[in-house]
């Protein structure tokens, strides 16, 4: 256990079973970007304020920059790459963001979209307040939040239409 500072862990990432050697001091964002090469997840502030690194662990949105990598052992992780639909087309949430002008520089978008997914997985008819509560931990410096809230509503409508 001591000395090499590495441990093999297994977990599920975007529906794929994964086994990896992970160092104890790493954060989940390091594992996702550097070891898995999934660079859709962004690191903004690195201290849990901006939400750019938001991913979903066992159904809950978390900041990957504050999440020790080894804690992902045995859990199910979804990153923005896991939202792609079968033919590699953007998911309906991503499409709603594009259609409603909720993307400018795009840096906050992966985090915004993951928080949106976590919300819609539990609630397919969120109120404005539900949406703003779920997205409070995701900062956008370009669009303002009106277009983003509109996008979440449009995506929610799509969930209801499909169900």
């Amino acid at each position: 256990m001591e000395g090499d500072m590495k441990r093999e862990i297994s977990f599920i990432v975007n529906s794929q079973q994964m086994k990896l050697e992970v160092e104890g001091h790493l954060r989940l964002i390091d594992l996702i970007r550097d070891q898995l090469g999934l660079t859709g997840t962004k690191e903004g502030c690195g201290e849990g304020e901006c939400g750019a690194c938001t991913v979903i662990v066992d159904g809950k949105s978390v900041n990957a920059c504050l999440y020790p990598a080894l804690e992902i052992e045995g859990k199910t992780l979804i990153t923005i790459e896991g939202l792609l639909e079968e033919d590699n087309k953007p998911s309906f949430i991503q499409k709603a963001f594009i259609d409603n002008g909720a993307v400018q520089c795009g840096f906050c978008s992966p985090g915004m979209i993951m928080s949106t997914k976590a919300l819609l997985d539990k609630n397919n008819d969120p109120s404005d307040e539900d949406i703003r509560t779920a997205l409070l931990g995701n900062l956008c410096r370009c669009t303002g939040y009106v277009q983003i809230v509109d996008s979440v509503k449009a995506a929610a409508k799509e969930v209801r239409r499909k169900s």
Binding site: G24, G46, G51, V62, L66, L70, E73, S115
Partner: protein, 288 residues
């Protein structure tokens, strides 16, 4: 960043064994404070001992009394239907902690154990007269929560002691409680926060507990305010005087977030507003 080992013990016994082997190790629960300190270089741990998978810390139960495991996440607390009914004031306060991403991992034990004067769960737990249960491999002790805090960032815990749970007596159905918090934005740390619990009969105050955060080196009970109002008839003049006493009982600092004067002002206003709101029967929640 300096490398370190990360341990995931599965029981308290294992936690203490590790702590004995690596005395310079640090405990980590949700990590929302610890990880920030490591990143900023304020904390350079030799090893981290994770408390996330320690079953002894995970239980929430409402029976003869209320027991909240220190490892319960803030989200688990908010989503617990029994707590919502029994002690809504704590659930109210918990809802205003950070963002959803933070609440999903941050724990109540971490919120208290970090010993920040602005710990958002503290004022609510103080007015509920929560007792902290602290365990080491050698013994267990129980204390009123206000005795747990000893200063900004410091607690009464010795190296091997762990805050394992909070015990709260179920408030009588006649009690009402409220918590108020001011942050610059909603997910911000509290500039000042207040919680008040009251049991009244008409305008007569049978019991009152008042606590405040971010206005002293530790979250604290405003005992002078309680003494002034308990077992008396509440009037508008009395509430005004309580507001003045509250302002005098705190010792806030000026920092990057706001000034001492404004913090003092907020505490006075929140004590007044809380009492007025409870006298009007409300459990009204103040957002910002």
């Amino acid at each position: 960043m300096k490398k370190f080992e990360y341990y995931k013990p599965k029981s308290l016994t294992e936690v203490w064994e590790l702590k004995e082997k690596i005395p310079n190790s640090r405990f980590i629960a949700g990590g929302t404070d610890v990880m920030v300190k490591i990143k900023s270089g304020l904390l350079i741990p030799e090893a981290l001992i994770s408390l996330r998978e320690v079953p002894e810390l995970k239980n929430i139960s409402v029976g003869k009394n209320i027991r909240i495991g220190a490892g319960s996440t803030i989200t688990e607390l908010i989503e617990n239907a029994e707590l919502q009914t029994a002690i809504p004031v704590l659930v109210q306060a918990a809802r205003r902690i950070g963002s959803l991403q933070i609440r999903n991992v941050a724990t109540v034990g971490g919120n208290l154990g970090n010993c920040s004067p602005c710990a958002d769960t503290a004022p609510a737990l103080l007015v509920l007269e929560a007792r902290a249960v602290v365990r080491s491999d050698k013994n267990t002790r129980e204390m009123p929560l206000q005795d747990f805090f000893t200063g900004p960032g410091t607690s009464c815990l010795s190296a091997k002691e762990i805050l394992v749970e909070l015990i709260i007596d179920i408030p009588s159905p006649q009690t009402k409680a409220i918590s108020m918090k001011k942050g610059r934005v909603q997910m911000d740390l509290a500039l000042a926060s207040v919680a008040v619990l009251m049991e009244t009969d008409g305008n007569f105050c049978k019991k009152i507990r008042v606590a405040a955060g971010s206005v002293a080196p530790v979250p604290l009970r405003l005992i002078e305010v309680e003494k002034f109002l308990e077992n008396t008839e509440i009037t508008e003049e009395k509430i005004k005087e309580a507001q003045r006493i509250a302002m005098e009982s705190v010792s806030p600092i000026s920092d990057v977030r706001t000034t001492a004067d404004y913090r003092r002002h907020l505490v006075g206003v929140y004590v007044k507003n809380s009492i007025q709101s409870l006298m009007n029967g409300g459990r009204h929640e103040k957002r910002n």
